[in-house]
Symmetry: C2
Subunit: 196 residues, 2 copies
Amino acid sequence: MRIFGDSISGNCLKVKWTADYLSLPYDWIEVDIRKGGSRTPAFLAMNPAGQVPVVLLDDGRPIAQSNAILLHLARGSQLIPDDPYDQAKMLEWLFWEQYSHEPYIAVARFQVLYLGKPVADLEPRLVERGTAALACLENALGDRRFLVADTLTLADIALIAYTRMAHHGGFDLADYPAVCRWIRQVEQLLRLEPAA
Amino acid sequence: MRIFGDSISGNCLKVKWTADYLSLPYDWIEVDIRKGGSRTPAFLAMNPAGQVPVVLLDDGRPIAQSNAILLHLARGSQLIPDDPYDQAKMLEWLFWEQYSHEPYIAVARFQVLYLGKPVADLEPRLVERGTAALACLENALGDRRFLVADTLTLADIALIAYTRMAHHGGFDLADYPAVCRWIRQVEQLLRLEPAA
């Protein structure tokens, strides 16, 4: 399997972490999105949407969309709960992440860290919705160890990807103690160094 | 099962269509999002994100996020392909829909149809990305009958929901003949009247 990803992207890193956690062998192909690496004809042939990550299976067939890739890599593993309701709640978090979290938390980080925009100049909508997403996570976690059931699932992996770097976009994670505790726990299970 | 949805929302209608197609019994509870129906304490207790649709299972447990609901309702049915790769491609479309299609096609429609904004005043980003989403669908469909494999899947149901109403937001579907053909086919299978 080949993973085409940009190491600055949480969407790509979550695919790497899942493959590492499940001991799936892969080659990592670095794609520099800021230099147009996801807009070349070769890349667009794999994913016409021009987005990283893309996984090329050993038979040459591509899969795009980070959370679709996670679900494919983790099928049959303990990262997907057996219970149908727990599975639905995990999927709920995966869709929520892409609709109500990533477009604010990840975009604010990208604008500040890579485009050099001052935090004070971020669109108010980004800050407001990013803050709402962090508050939603904080409330959902409470005393829980994980987002779904009492076990590590793809929901935790997908959600920590950008949450652990939210401070890059000006969000103060100290306001969210349950989120911080959960990030550290999931990082330990994935054997990640705490995010700088 | 109870489906809490607003009939003006494609995200809610896709849940209704899936339940109808699979002959699953349900009560439809109309929630008027424009009158704050998804922001009441009772609604937020079911879904803290304050978004429709929400399904309450017969045991009282809620599931939110339209595509997570679809996947739960359709488990074990022919709307989810057995083949792992086809399943991954279906999931790819479901995530793409929420990230790269709905935020432009559905939002443009809402602003024009329900907020009365002239099409000419839409944010250029909405028009540009909505157009890109329709072009992506057109290219993916080509001569195909369905988005994944040669059978109706959740990808088709999720994607026609707002695509068939894209003209409400000023997009001209006549520019996308493969999309129009596919919409009519899927509408027939779901026994829907063509969208006005």
